[in-house]
Symmetry: C2
């Protein structure tokens, strides 16, 4: 559960609104984030070859507007993906309707969708709701929380995170929300996440900051190995803090990037914690690898192993499955040099069993947060990836998702 | 369940024996296959970097003996993997003990193990059992079935398959057994499978035939994406049929390879059918791809998608997940050309929904065998992969494997 949000944490110059437009049965399913001035905006998107209509429209709009955005509109309940020309038209008409309500150009609007793939979007429900939604905006914490709720699909809790930093003596606020608990396997993007900040920062630097902050956070988690067709993470910076503009890779840039990384890390861990059916957050650290890249490859392979993830569901200290997953990662290493710790307990030394008390290990693995450390003792490369365990509840959720 | 086996299907010149040596609580856990004459032998092994001691010993023995094998000894209940120098010594002493009983060299013995990883092997239990086992051999169908039972771990049924072909007017028999229902994701090998034949065939040709027969069968199935550390498939050809020797890539070679492929295909499908917790066998055909290789890559990605496999557990015709999995396979294609059929029903045309009756599709997906056909309409490449659905029972089995 995200920490309670106070009004003081909400960046200046944004309003937030959410409503039920009818795509879902009864819950909030449409959200609108408005910046009172055009905000410099950076975004990263899914790497899936199958890209939803809204992803394509967002990319085009960011290019046309040179990263100047007035608003983001998001619906849940339908991904508007694999919906052909009608799907593209739906995203475009949604942007146009929001632009008309705000008195700006459609290229200044980002459109995002999440939900089931392949079902035509009943866009008229969105179009009908936009005019009232555009007038309903509020700039307080409660309104932002409603946005976080409206973008949920199988999420069990809304997810938000806030951070502050001081630029030129003035406070700058960063606030983000995210949705996602399945089909989460990011590479340069994850699920939907929207970050607003009243920092003043140039578009190219904002883009660099986003990429730097996303790599060790949103791009270092995996729930089920499936990459969504709609993944989008957008950061809007409207400069309304009154702090001086960040225009170079200065100390201020570093402070801003660190705060942005804090927000993305909180959101990323909240997504893993809310992973479909998850009981445990598993932190997988690989060190002593030939390179950071190979450490990352091994950590991701372990994080995606069904056998490892089901063992964690049973709190079973089955380290052999961890080493076997590392062995099929494609990285060349000598497994007879490998040390493994499970929940802080040494369980494998030089590729073979290091005698440990199974019952103590089992007890420790019942904790919510459990760590795996794999030391290849073959170099200085390291990486850290977060995932969750794989439970019967995951299967239950996904076998009956549409019914 | 494999078809009943008759004595006439058993190749000449082999004996089979199985016993309970004490590695498992009460079930058969040790099997021995003896060829009365040295058999030309070909084998393929796991590609995992973490290789069990018996795999390393088998590779060395095949090299030293130039592929001449007298016997294969197999234990279940312990994989003898990640067991250090003691594990290697255990495999070597097992081979030596069998060799002594048969009066041959240790290099003529293959040693295989399957079961839990990382637990020291109580090899004395095997060594004590070998002398009696070596005398207990029988050449009938029943004895072979006992071998098939003794190599089981989480398998719910023993698996065997037989085929015949005629070489130079004489019948040649091929008979195989396999174990495996989890950690099954082959690449040039899968689980344990042992094939005996009374064909006379040169070692290089036997090796070629095995690779050709395994590619579209044992190497085209996946249960959970995890590659075992012990995968071995060995074929022993002892020439006792009296049929002329296959010494060139002749018509006889093709007949033999086709019969071997039939055996491996039956075993492969039996493994998928017995996949941990599986309710359905899913055949995934990808066609119209830029190349066979890219078709294979897409088919394997679909076969490994947790979201696709859980949808099949719920008989949910959620074709969007299939297309999304194809989209993250790494293959470059235009998803707006793609057609998809589910259980024979067209559900997606040109990358978008093709209206179909959800209830009819659901009913058809309740069948044991369900097919997915994905046509990229972008070339002539094709591939076929088999997998099973992903059920709550899989999680249950693997969360509690060692308890």
């Amino acid at each position: 559960m995200s920490a309670p949000l106070s009004n003081a944490e909400v960046p200046r110059g944004f309003t937030f609104a959410a409503t039920h437009c009818g795509l879902k049965k009864s819950r909030l399913d449409l959200a609108l984030i408005i910046s009172e001035a055009p905000a410099n905006t950076a975004a990263i998107f899914t790497t899936n070859r199958v890209q939803a209509a809204p992803v394509r429209v967002c990319k085009a709009h960011l290019k046309e507007s040179r990263g100047k955005v007035r608003a983001v509109i998001v619906n849940s309940g339908n991904a508007n993906c694999c919906t052909g020309p009608a799907g593209l038209a739906a995203s475009r008409s949604t942007a146009a309707r929001v632009a008309r309500a705000l008195g700006c150009a459609p290229r200044e609007i980002l459109v995002c969708s999440t939900g089931v793939i392949g079902t035509p979007l009943r866009v008229e429900k969105i179009l009908n709701a936009v005019p009232a939604l555009a007038l309903a905006g509020n700039s307080d914490a409660n309104a932002f929380e409603q946005v976080a709720r409206a973008i949920m699909t199988t999420d069990t809790v809304p997810k938000w995170a806030a951070a502050k930093c001081t630029i030129g003596g003035k406070p700058v606020r960063i606030l983000g929300c995210a949705k996602g608990s399945g089909m989460i396997h990011p590479n340069m993007a994850t699920t939907l996440s929207f970050i607003v900040t009243d920092a003043a920062i140039s578009a190219p630097l904002l883009s660099r900051a986003l990429r730097a902050a996303a790599a060790p956070t949103l791009n270092s988690i995996t729930v089920d190995g499936d990459t969504s067709t709609n993944d989008t993470c957008a950061v809007l910076a409207n400069g309304k803090s009154g702090a001086p503009k960040i225009a170079a890779e200065s100390r201020d840039y570093k402070k801003f990037t660190a705060a942005l990384r804090d927000v993305l890390k909180s959101l990323a861990l909240a997504i893993v914690e809310d992973g479909e059916g998850a009981q445990h957050i598993i932190e997988i650290e690989v060190r002593g690898a030939p390179s950071d890249r190979s450490a990352d490859q091994i950590a991701r392979t372990i994080a995606q192993s069904s056998l490892v993830k089901t063992a964690f569901a049973g709190a079973d200290p089955n380290w052999g499955r961890i080493l076997a997953a590392a062995g099929r990662s494609g990285v060349d290493f000598d497994f007879e040099r490998v040390d493994i710790w499970l929940a802080g307990i040494p369980v494998c030394r030089r590729g073979r069993e290091y005698p440990f008390d199974e019952r103590v290990a089992h007890e420790k693995m019942l904790a919510k947060n459990v760590s795996i450390v794999v030391d290849l003792r073959s170099g200085r490369g390291r990486a850290c990836i977060w995932t969750c365990d794989f439970t019967q509840e995951y299967v239950h959720i996904n076998a009956s998702y549409r019914t």
